[in-house]
């Protein structure tokens, strides 16, 4: 008997499988550091502002935010969120935070990593590193954890300027200097806590490696401009993890170089991530980690996702002339990650469209047919600008948008069936607007 092996809708990059060991290594290092009672820090995506300094000082960061995506994917998050609700936390708070609070409650109750925690769980922290970056949860959440962990907390600053174009240089200067001064404070905090000095040579070597990783990762994503798009959003979401958490590591660079080679080969041979690319889309902002198979269903319909999750994309390479001043160099890069799309728009003569800028820039450069937005019940930050972004793309570029409500962690609020029902209508919309754009002289 022959059973036809169902052709996978999305041809995942083979080299994306190389990412798995990097992530496993990261979790194992955390568990090991905990067991051996070496310093462990609970941290998060802070756009490269602080963790590399901790690593250079021998601290092992552990990432509850990433742990949240893992728990969501395995369906375990619901249980932890229930525990968090029983502790009195409202259920609209960040899903990752609820997951962490629930996990931590259980960990304190059991006196060890709780039964059933995936990836070996998260070791008890020696201290916690918060960030002001992008969302308030990044410091409110760890502040709440003080109920469980009586350990020091440091918060990294993160200016949110409204002026992101090159014209207000004095604003940018003040912002970066503030961040750099605070990073010196962070170093002093660590040196005092760990009773050792920062090895600046080690840090510099890590920064150099990190910058190479950013460059390759940037170039990989630039290659996705090709038609058909060689790499799907699902691969992006897998591969963004090492870039955030282990970019200091030469192994990460080696993996990304392999990814680059594979993507380049696909481009050279006209191979797309899906067999029949009918539509090229962007996705805003964070996916339903618990239901990523949803994208395979869309791929079966010919939907390829060429870009996504703007706030998680690497910024373009930049000359980081800070000289020997490592805090200044770090601050400058983090700040650049926030403002770079405004610079790009100014350089290319695109209209300034505020928070919709990344999606506007991509729509033009990746030749996008539609935007799919996913409002998240537990993340206002990653949801607020959806309507505006859809309006901008429609009004300025004649690109239609579709919205499917859900959440990053809470799988009960995501209704895939209803979302898929809307697909045919949206395809008609994308077809129609393609004609409109052509009639206006745009080339996609």
């Amino acid at each position: 008997m022959a059973e036809e092996k169902k052709k996978r809708a999305i041809t995942r990059l083979e080299s994306s499988a190389l990412v798995r060991p990097l992530v496993n290594k990261m979790y194992m290092e955390g568990a090991l550091a905990g067991m051996e009672e070496r310093p462990v820090a609970w941290s998060m995506v802070n756009w490269w502002e602080g963790d590399i300094i901790m690593r250079a000082m021998g601290v092992t960061p552990v990432y509850p935010e990433n742990f949240g995506t893992v728990c969501a994917a395995l369906g375990i998050a619901q249980k932890y969120m229930g525990v968090s609700a029983a502790e009195g936390f409202p259920t609209h708070l960040c899903g990752y935070a609820q997951n962490t609070i629930g996990y931590t409650t259980e960990m304190k109750r059991e006196g060890k990593v709780p039964e059933g925690a995936p990836m070996g769980g998260m070791a008890q922290p020696t201290f916690m590193l918060c960030s002001e970056g992008y969302c308030d949860a990044r410091f409110k959440w760890f502040q709440s954890l003080r109920q469980f962990w009586n350990v020091p907390v440091w918060t990294l600053p993160f200016p949110h300027p409204v002026y992101t174009d090159p014209s207000l240089q004095d604003v940018h200067k003040v912002n970066v200097e503030y961040m750099a001064v605070e990073l010196q404070g962070f170093i002093a905090f660590l040196e005092n806590l760990l009773k050792k000095k920062l090895d600046r040579d080690k840090l510099e070597a890590m920064l150099n490696n990190q910058e190479k990783v950013f460059k390759v990762w940037w170039e990989i994503n630039e290659l996705r401009k090709a038609k058909p798009c060689p790499m799907h959003a699902r691969d992006f979401w897998t591969m963004m993890v090492p870039c955030f958490y282990t970019a200091y590591d030469p192994e990460t660079l080696a993996v990304y170089q392999q990814v680059y080679n594979e993507v380049k080969a696909r481009v050279d041979n006209g191979i797309g991530a899906i067999p029949d690319e009918k539509y090229r889309l962007v996705f805003a902002e964070l996916p339903p980690w618990h239901s990523l198979g949803f994208f395979d269903k869309l791929a079966e319909r010919g939907w390829n996702f060429a870009a996504e999750s703007a706030s998680y994309h690497p910024p373009p390479p930049m000359e980081l002339n800070g000289g020997g001043d490592l805090p200044y160099r770090i601050a400058r890069w983090t700040y650049w990650s926030y403002i770079n799309t405004g610079y790009r728009a100014a350089k290319m003569g695109y209209p300034a469209v505020g928070a919709a800028q990344p999606y506007y820039n991509w729509a033009v450069e990746y030749k996008i047919d539609g935007i799919l937005t996913h409002p998240l019940v537990t993340c206002r930050t990653a949801t607020f600008w959806h309507t505006h972004s859809m309006n901008v793309l429609r009004d300025k570029l004649d690109i239609p948008g579709m919205s499917i409500q859900g959440d990053i962690v809470d799988l009960t609020v995501f209704d895939a069936a209803t979302a898929l029902n809307q697909a045919p209508a949206f395809e008609e919309s994308m077809d129609h607007f393609r004609k409109v754009r052509k009639s206006k002289g745009l080339d996609w």
């Binding site: 969302c135 409110k140 003080r146 907390v153 600053p157 004095d170 998240l376 206002r380």
Partner: protein, 382 residues
């Protein structure tokens, strides 16, 4: 406007847009602003009347849905909605501030929709480290620069110092007014107090101070104040822009005698310290002395001490106003206050002060379920 004292506050509360339009007709320049963070002393020193932009719990949201998803702060959605409907047309120029996530984004979206000729955004840090004060001050300096460029006038530091005195004078009057609720029964109700605070946010500072003086005299002399009731409650949490929730509480066996909300004590309580460069005093007052959970308070040697740092001032309120219960309220989707709830509840439990948490949807309707909870709470503490 011809009414005075409590009647004036009521009239302004009932029709704040009407009063602001009167002011405009008199030639006043109106500077709209959000939250409690913009330095109003600098605004008045440049001859603007600062009018806080607020939402309405009474107006169903319709137009805002074309600009922003529904699962964000309902008050900010309302503010956008009112703006789009032309109900905030008295605002000429606008100051935004990075207070919480949604407010930060709201400010830019509001400007995008309203297209004010002058829009300045204050990037307020969430932490109050030493360098953060310098950063806050630099933000004020930038604000000064853009406002000077827009008005063609220079900000006079001596004038600014005078404004600091004027604003502090109003704050002292507000504290005096609140003091009239220390006794039992309080001399004015929580609803009346909220109306007065909202009225203050809708008129120039001197006019507000004049109104306060009249009210204090009126209230001290009145015979028709609230009755003595079993519960003396402190109300904590999200901003309230209508009295509906307090009305509901005070319709039961309770008086709301004190608050910790930003359309109440948070906006008015701390003075600005007079410093040789007035911007230093302003930076300290607005970043550090202003109490709002959007600011991260440095952690200490224990969680209990953290709570003391974060909430100790409320304990003082509870003591001085002889409070026997606390109502913790926040709007649905308010993450800033949502994260606080377990910690602040545990704090009051430790102090032996009963508390009740209510999550509401920032509307006038559907208060019946909340009422049952409040009623049961009052039964519990009586």
């Amino acid at each position: 406007m011809s009414s005075k004292g409590l009647a004036k506050a009521k009239d302004i509360y009932a029709n704040r847009a009407g009063r602001v339009r009167e002011l405009k007709a008199e030639g006043k320049k109106i500077m709209g602003y959000v939250c409690a963070y913009p330095p109003l002393e600098m605004v008045t020193a440049m001859d603007y009347a600062p009018i806080r932009v607020i939402g309405s719990m009474d107006e169903p949201i319709t137009k805002a849905d074309t600009q922003v998803p529904s699962i964000i702060c309902p008050m900010l959605r309302s503010m956008l909605d009112l703006g789009m409907k032309g109900k905030a047309d008295f605002v000429e120029d606008f100051i935004g501030a990075h207070t919480c996530d949604c407010a930060e984004k709201f400010c830019h979206l509001y400007q995008h929709n309203m297209q004010f000729p002058y829009y300045h955004f204050l990037d307020v840090p969430h932490i109050a480290h030493k360098a953060s004060f310098g950063f806050m001050k630099a933000g004020f300096q930038l604000f000064q620069k853009t406002l000077e460029a827009h008005t063609g006038k220079k900000l006079d530091p001596d004038r600014l110092k005078q404004e600091v005195k004027k604003h502090n004078a109003q704050r002292a009057l507000v504290r005096e007014l609140y003091g009239l609720r220390r006794q039992d029964p309080p001399l004015l109700s929580g609803s009346e107090n909220l109306q007065i605070m909202l009225a203050l946010l809708s008129i120039p500072i001197e006019e507000g101070s004049g109104m306060l003086k009249d009210i204090i005299a009126e209230v001290k002399a009145r015979k028709d104040g609230p009755k003595k009731k079993a519960a003396r409650l402190l109300l904590w949490g999200s901003p309230l822009t209508e009295t509906s929730i307090i009305d509901m509480i005070e319709s039961l066996n309770a008086n709301v005698v004190m608050d910790d909300i930003c359309t109440g004590t948070r906006h008015f309580w701390p003075d600005v310290e007079m410093t040789s460069d007035p911007l230093d005093g302003l930076a300290k007052r607005y970043l550090d002395d202003l109490k709002c959970p959007r600011t991260f308070r440095e952690t200490t040697s224990s969680f209990e001490e953290d709570q003391e740092v974060r909430f100790g001032y409320i304990k003082d309120y509870a003591k001085e106003w002889n409070v026997n219960g606390v109502i913790l309220q926040s709007m649905k989707y308010c993450d800033t206050h949502g994260y606080e709830v377990p910690a602040i509840k545990a704090y009051f439990d430790r102090l032996g002060i009963p508390s009740l948490y209510l999550e509401h949807e920032y509307t006038m309707v559907a208060l019946a379920p909340l009422k049952t909870r409040v009623e049961a709470f009052i039964e519990m503490i009586s």
